[in-house]
Each structure stands twice: as C-alpha cells, then as structure tokens.
Symmetry: C2
Subunit: 307 residues, 2 copies
C-alpha cells in the first residue's frame, strides 16, 4: 500500500569527524522516502526552490518515488547547516534557512488521495495538520517532531498529536513533551495526547515501541529493537528519518498490522537507520539493495535472539 | 559451580529523587553476591570494620553466601556517600572513606580454593591482582573496574586485565580505557589488553557482549540484551554489580559455556540489574525469589523477540 509523506526536501551542509559536504540533497522527507521506497510505493509532498534540479530529481526517480507533490517555488530550498564534531549523537545547528518553506501551503495531488498510509515528517505542526486534514481516511497515520516545536509551538503540536495513530521521537523529545524524566511514565503521558503508539528512538542503543494497553491490562506493552554497534559512524544525519522510513515502509508493505508485524517493522527501522550512518548524506541509501537490507535484518535478529 | 568474589562490603548513604537512606549495607561484592546467590554458591572475600554486625551478617546468611573470607578488622567499614538527584544514570560522589580497605591484604580461605569461577569486583587493581594470583586455576575469571582506576591507576589495571577472560564495564569506562569514542572500536581495543570477552553496560538501554572472533573471521561477535523500561527507578546503586552477579551466577550454574549460555547470561544480568533499581539499596535483592527472576526473564525475552 502506498505511503504519502510530507516533510522537508532540502539541502544540508554538514561536518562530522569523518569529513564535510556542502549543499547536498537532504531533508526529512528525502531520507524517509528513500528508506521506505525499498518496501512500498512512496509519494512525497514538499516544496523546493530553483536550486532543486534534474540531479536531485533523479535521486527520487531512481527509487521510483512519486514527486508529483513536490512543488517548485521561486527562491531557494530549505537549507540546514550543522556539525557533529563533539558528539555524534547530537547535531549542533549552525544555520537554518526556511526559504521556500516559509510560505508553503501543502496541496495533495489527486493521484495521492488513495494512499492508505500517511507520514508527517518533522516540519511546522501547522503544515502537518493541514495535510492530515486533507487526508482523513488513511489506514494509519504517523508523525515525527523535534524539540523546537515541543518547546515553542506546543499548542499547534498538540492539535497534530490528536490526529496521529503513532508518534516517532527520540528520548529527549519524549521526556520534554511529557515533562517527565522516566521513560515509561513519559511514554504513557504522550499516549494520552492522541497517538495510541509511540516509538522512542535511542540513537546507538536502538528504539522502543510503546503501545497503550487496554485499561484493564494495567500495563503498557513495549518492545525493544537493538541498534548494531557500527564500525564507523560517518554521518548520523537522517538516521532517525531513515528509521521512520524503514519502519513505516515495512508496515505499509504488509497485508495485516499484527503485533508481530510491528515488531519486525521496528527491526527494519533500526536496519535502515544503521545504513544511513555509514556514508555521507543520502549516499548509502541511494546505493542500497533489498538483499543487503534482508541480510542486515538477519544480523539484527541474531543480535538479540535467544534460542 | 562455586564463585569466589572479591570486592567491597560497605556502608552507603544515598539520596535519590525517591528518598534517602543512611549507612546501609552495600558494596560491589554485596550486590554481586546477593544477585549471584540465586544461581549458584557464592564465597566472598572482603574486609569489614566493627560496624559490620550480626544484622549485616544475616543478610549474607539468608542467601547461603559463604562469609568465611570476610575479614574483621579494627575500625570502620568502607563508606560511600552519593546522590542521583540530577541524573539517575550517574552518581555524584560526596564522600568516599576507604577505612579498613586502606590496609587490606586479601587472603583466600582454603575452603574457597576449589571455586571454578572468580569475580574481581571493582576495587584497587593491586588487590584484584593479588587475589587473581592466588587462584590461578579457575575455569573463568571476570572483573569490573571504574573510571578512577582507569584514569589514575592504569598500569596496575593493565596488569589485572592480562589475567581476565572477561571484563564488565560501562560505556564511559570502555571508551575511556580504549581512548576511542566508537564503541565497537573501543571494544576491540580493550580485547587486545587481555580479556577475550567484554560486556559493556548501557544503563537503561541494556548491555552488549563483545567477543574476540578468530582473526580470519574479520568481525567481532556481539550480542545485545535489552533493559526493561521501569515504572520507577528508586535507587540505581548496585545495578551494575547486580547485573554482574546475575550474569556470572548464571554462567557458573551451567555445565557448558556455549554461546547460547552466554546470551542467556546477558539476559539474566539485565534482569538482576532491573530488580536492584526497584527498591533502596539491597532491599529488593534480599526479598527476591527465583520464581520472580524466571518470570522477568520471560518478559525480557518477549521484549526483543521476533517470531
């Protein structure tokens, strides 16, 4: 089943201990759709500027990603500059230019309207909500956000949360959103805000899926997927978005959303996040094959498997 | 098979967000032996002062732990005071008094000499080495250490590492010991210092077992055990030592040390660490039953299990 994703298609300048690149294709929706494209059909909604040319378009086309919903506007694409020189787990932002995103009003192409899965990648919650409202009948809707929206745009974000089945955020964001340092208590609090499921990403330690249990169960269901200790983390940019793409892409590829399917989706998310870190920018996702993904899935399974 | 453990038997004063206790029985060897005692026979080597009375002795006796090797000396027992008010993952030390440990010269009782497993809990590496040298024929020897010894007593510590099969430390310690921020590279470096296996504890995210592979394998074997998101972390003191006790205790209870046994040992370690955090000090370990341990082992297994 097809996924529609809304989020940034952007250019990044990034410096890591392994090197530096300038104004390369990036953005949450780009990482997400590349990762998800190995599992199912993906349709993107975004806005780009005049700097987005055939070279960038070709990256999406090579993975059969539908770009009908990528609007071209006068001006420059969203731009982010950051570094991970002191800490590979946390980016230091040097510059953010919204550019064409500042006045973006997302429109859903008619050809996207039968998408059964909707992903609201990390952008202004006002835009996330507008897309959600235009696609009321999807089977599953998930979203991401970040500390900036939690801190300074909470009312708008809370409106988005009401319309989500599942939220994917990291540890710090979960604790900040709930105002509670205990992860389990924070997860429960977030799941009273709308989403009945929450994926908390722990960076190099994997991720946890929480699910609201029936009130009489007196417990919260949870499941942990590991991350693989990597030989070298070249560039962590987009790892979380790639996790989301692998996770959601796998879900969308399955006929039924059983608990076992959600568990495997967590592992596929972790697999795609691990690939994203191995090269600069989207390079590794562009070169990847499904056989490599399945091979690494087996390694991840072995990583925590008891006979 | 019996385990001999050398380490601190001490008194702690601890403050956590959940409360405070004063001068309660604690110490690495205490937590370790309580946790290991659910799996096998445990024999302790330590020194205590005149403040160690029948009340403390009874805690060991209730779990059938052999205290023949706990020497009584004039003066006070080792004392530590710390808090976890800002960060439950890292203790802030307010006071450390070595007291009777300052002049300790560990002696191995004859009745301990047939122990097949030896654990060198976190103490001065000079003492760890002395015990190791007196027990050259054990089947498996593992040890723990901490940032203080890595930073200021590295030559003595490196001598200890040469005599270990397995080292158990946390993330920060592994990176500090290897001088490398990448966990996999750090693990490989540590495994050139002596131990052929390394367990790195990740606090609330579980732990990873690394094993030196044959040179022709071109890879490092690794295995991850999760930790359970806890309702409330009352007191993290001793969680790492309890992990070690569960891990090593389970190994010692098994006839053969196969890879599958090491994997299950990692899960039992994680289980015992999770119990330790649920009450102040050693309280939870004192009340625990084997049935509760096996029940939680099942929950941990489900936590990462794919069909």
């Amino acid at each position: 089943m097809a996924i529609t994703v809304v989020g940034s298609v952007a250019f990044d300048t990034v410096e890591t201990p392994a090197g530096r690149y300038e104004r390369q294709l990036a953005g949450a929706a780009t990482y997400f759709s590349l990762a998800a494209s190995f599992f199912t059909d993906v349709r993107v909604i975004a806005v780009v500027g005049e700097d987005f040319g055939p070279e960038q378009e070709a990256v999406f086309k090579a993975r059969n990603i539908d770009t009908t919903g990528i609007e071209r506007a006068a001006g420059k694409s969203f731009f982010w500059e950051g570094s991970y020189l002191e800490n590979l787990n946390e980016a230091k932002t040097h510059n953010t230019e919204l550019n064409v995103f500042a006045t973006f009003n997302p429109q859903i192409p008619d050809s996207y309207r039968d998408s059964e899965f909707l992903f609201l990648a990390n952008i202004d919650p006002v835009l996330q909500r507008r897309v959600r409202e235009q696609m009321p009948h999807v089977k599953l809707v998930a979203g991401d956000t970040m500390n900036y929206w939690i801190k300074d745009h909470k009312p708008a974000l809370l409106e988005v949360l009401k319309g989500l089945d599942l939220l994917l955020i990291n540890d710090t964001e979960a604790r900040m959103l709930a105002g509670n340092d205990n992860l389990l208590q924070a997860a429960r609090a977030v799941m009273t805000m709308g989403p009945r499921m929450l994926v908390v990403k722990h960076g190099e330690y994997g991720a946890t899926l929480f699910e609201r249990a029936a009130p009489e169960a007196h417990r919260t269901e949870c499941f942990r997927a590991p991350a693989l200790p990597l030989e070298e983390v070249v560039d962590p940019t987009g790892a979380g978005d790639s996790f989301a793409g692998g996770f959601f892409g796998y879900l969308a590829s399955q006929a039924e959303l059983t608990p076992a399917v959600f568990r495997r989706a967590m592992f596929y998310g972790s697999v795609m996040g691990s690939f994203a870190c191995e090269r600069f920018g989207t390079e590794r996702l562009q070169q990847l094959t499904r056989a490599e993904i399945d091979e690494r899935f087996k390694i991840f399974r072995e990583l925590t498997h008891l006979d």
